[in-house]
């Protein structure tokens, strides 16, 4: 049956060509913007002391200025979560940088990645804007660029400039633990969490020291000591996401 075999051959050829093209493109594909393999001696985390937080929102503002965040978007938000002994209790919410981040698992193109040091990051050049990560994030930590952000950013003061480029329209974005400060600081030999130049902007700016950033892998770091000395909790621990943001609950004695 010559006709049939010719067809089958053609068919197989087409299939083979398609598979080869895909394999070739995959081989030639750009690597991720972030190094996600390998090991890291660091496990970065943030401890937020709700007993200290006064809800001043400086952290959100510093975050906007440093990361050039569009007015409709919040990487870092502070919500009033309740009241204790007549005093309001606030819940600052950055990205949780989960150990098993749902956004990383669901991203169809691996634009959402988690570095070995625990920072969950976005590759804005790879993101297709499907927003599955937004739907999947239990903490509402992700935002989408619904429109292009042009013009000056009102959050950026005249005397400074943002540390990262602005994101284009149509990609998801979120808190990065100010990864640009961490990486630059490490390159300069600084210690994130100790040296301000290597610490996330929100932690640096906090006037009451409610936000503490540091390395969980170092037992002498400030975060490790805080967690060892105080009871702490994490948001939605029942989901098994393993957030790297710990909260020290508001305490009555501290309110006084």
């Amino acid at each position: 049956m010559p006709t049939e075999s010719i067809h089958r051959r053609t068919f197989l050829k087409v299939i083979g060509a398609g598979a080869a093209a895909t394999a070739g493109l995959r081989a030639a594909a750009r690597a991720s913007a972030w190094e996600t393999t390998g090991d890291s001696p660091h496990r970065y985390a943030m401890v937020i002391d709700q007993a200290k937080c006064t809800g001043c929102d400086y952290c959100s503002e510093a975050c906007r200025a440093h990361n050039d965040i569009a007015p409709g978007i919040e990487w870092n938000t502070v919500v009033r979560s309740g009241e204790l002994a007549g005093q309001p209790v606030y819940l600052p919410r950055p990205c949780m940088h989960c150990e098993h981040a749902p956004c990383v698992e669901v991203c169809p193109v691996k634009a959402s990645t988690r570095r070995a040091d625990g920072v969950v990051l976005m590759d804005y050049d790879r993101c297709i804007g499907c927003r599955y990560c937004q739907v999947a994030c239990p903490y509402g930590a992700r935002s989408f660029n619904w429109e292009a952000f042009t013009g000056p950013n009102p959050a950026v003061p005249k005397w400074g400039e943002p540390e990262v480029p602005r994101r284009p329209r149509g990609v998801a974005e979120k808190c990065t633990f100010c990864v640009q400060r961490i990486d630059r600081g490490l390159a300069l030999g600084l210690t994130p969490g100790v040296d301000q130049a290597a610490t996330p902007a929100c932690a640096v700016v906090c006037p009451v020291g409610a936000r503490v950033f540091g390395d969980l892998a170092d037992p002498q770091s400030n975060v490790s000591r805080l967690l060892a000395d105080h009871p702490s909790y994490r948001l939605r621990e029942d989901l098994g996401t393993g957030p790297r943001v710990y909260y020290l609950p508001a305490r009555e004695e501290a309110q006084a």
């Binding site: 049956m1 006709t3 049939e4 067809h7 089958r8 068919f11 895909t22 493109l25 995959r26 594909a29 978007i73 749902p102 990383v104 698992e105 669901v106 991203c107 169809p108 193109v109 691996k110 634009a111 790879r126 993101c127 297709i128 804007g129 499907c130 927003r131 599955y132 937004q134 739907v135 999947a136 994030c137 239990p138 903490y139 509402g140 992700r142 935002s143 989408f144 660029n145 619904w146 429109e147 292009a148 284009p168 329209r169 149509g170 990609v171 998801a172 989901l239 098994g240 996401t241």
Partner: protein
Amino acid sequence: MTKRLSSAAYVDRLSGGMGPMRYRVWLAVLGALMAAGAAAGVVVFARGLVVTNLNDIVPWGLWITIDLSAIAMSAGAFLLCAAVYLLGLRQFQPLARTATYLGLIGYSMAVLTLLLDIGRPERFWHALIYWNPHSVLWEVTMCVTLYFGILMLETAPIFGRSSWLRRRWPKLAGSMQSLHQLAPYLAVAGLGLSLLHQSSLGATYGVLKARPIWYRPDLSVLFIVSAMAAGPALTVLVSMLAARLRKGVRVDDHLLERMAGFIGWVLVGYLYFRFWDAFAMTYTYEPGRTEGLRFITGGPLSFNFWVLEILLGAIVPIVVLLHKPWREPSVADVGPRPGRHRVGGLPLGHDHGRAAADRQLPVAGIRGELYDLRAVADRDPYRRWDRGLWRAGRNVGDPAPGGRGSQAGAGAGGNPGERAGGGGMRVGAKHPERSRRVLRPWSSTGGATLTPTLPLKGGGRQNEPGALSPSPLLGLYRPPRAGQAPSKGARFAVSCPEADRLLHCLQSRLEQGLGVGRVVNAHAQIIDYELVVPHRVGDRLSDYQGSICGGIAPFASRRVVDPP
């Protein structure tokens, strides 16, 4: 060969009797809708998704719904292709073509909507290059892409038949038509891919820990079961609409009725799963989950749930589709009215039992207002792929399956005459009890005119190579038109012995004066295992040009697919 039609005649033909004016109005309405959609798409591309009123709290909105519904309603394609090519339910072939075509439309819709829905449409190909096998959405994207390709291959023969394409690029049209040889393989691949992504669409939501209403393992089951109901339902709806709106389209009500029963039972299954799915939300008091159930059943969404999903989506269709008197076409609809004829091989089911009819392929038939004669081959003389996927020996009514198996082997051996001869005759020779094919008058005539039983024994010719023409043949009996003298001695180019005998019988009956009128000869061609016949007395052959739905393929100048 084909002279160009004038544009008026072309519109007339395309409109299928709708009338050029109405046809143009329809085209204008549809064109306006498409233009509006295209304009909206341009706005979205230009200004971004900010125009959609989606926000960070509700990142997925109407488009995803359109997308999922389009994919679910395309599920008829894989179901019917599997039924035809894997289960061997050949009589569903006409519906399978309709469903495949609908599937192509549905997936095109889904892909286009997705393109609008993602924030960076120019990066749509990233999922093909940057793989994240952890992601359900990645799997869905890959499956949808591959399946879209399969649908294009599956529908290529349909498009290859269009007279326009054949006129412009006959060679391309020919190779597109011959793609039907891949149909069984495509059906296997399509079945796998469809099962994967139709259920993964449910898993897309089912894995979301963040959304307790969706976070359920059985969401994928609900998705595929509902798709198994929605896909065939759309196929049935479109077939019925096509039969009503276009003169040249014939739909087999019996097929539709069987499909409707299938849909009804699938919906019963859906209701069952839905019940346990909802009930299981109360098993554990997980924050969000039980509240989710309350939210659906008693909260602001309760109308959607109880009335739209359960009542209108399941209970009402179950009652309508499983209550036989309501499901069946009314008697008035079955008569020889345009568009209401039973076509294909199905009426044989009444003669040989449904199970046997499932596996029998009509190779020739005669239909007029008075007669409905068919011959059946036990295996398809043109089937080239029966060595692997679908064994000829699986005839349910077969008294000796072993014997059939050996015949299938012989058939695959390569003797063209034997293979093309049609199994019916060989069965006749081997199993005398099956050598008589019951041929009955068309039921609507009250069984008056033709001998109800007619021997259909195979002659000695079936083993002669070259004695068989590529196309089994069909004669059409026409009643005389007013003022037209009945003509006798119609010409038959019959080669398939069964058809030969059939037509001979009919002719002799006609000559005996049982009928008046003339028999026109018409070539029925089996292309892709589908019997192509004109189905209505007085039909012009051009009525069948280009129609896709209902299993009527273009008739007049078809390319015959030669038997091996």
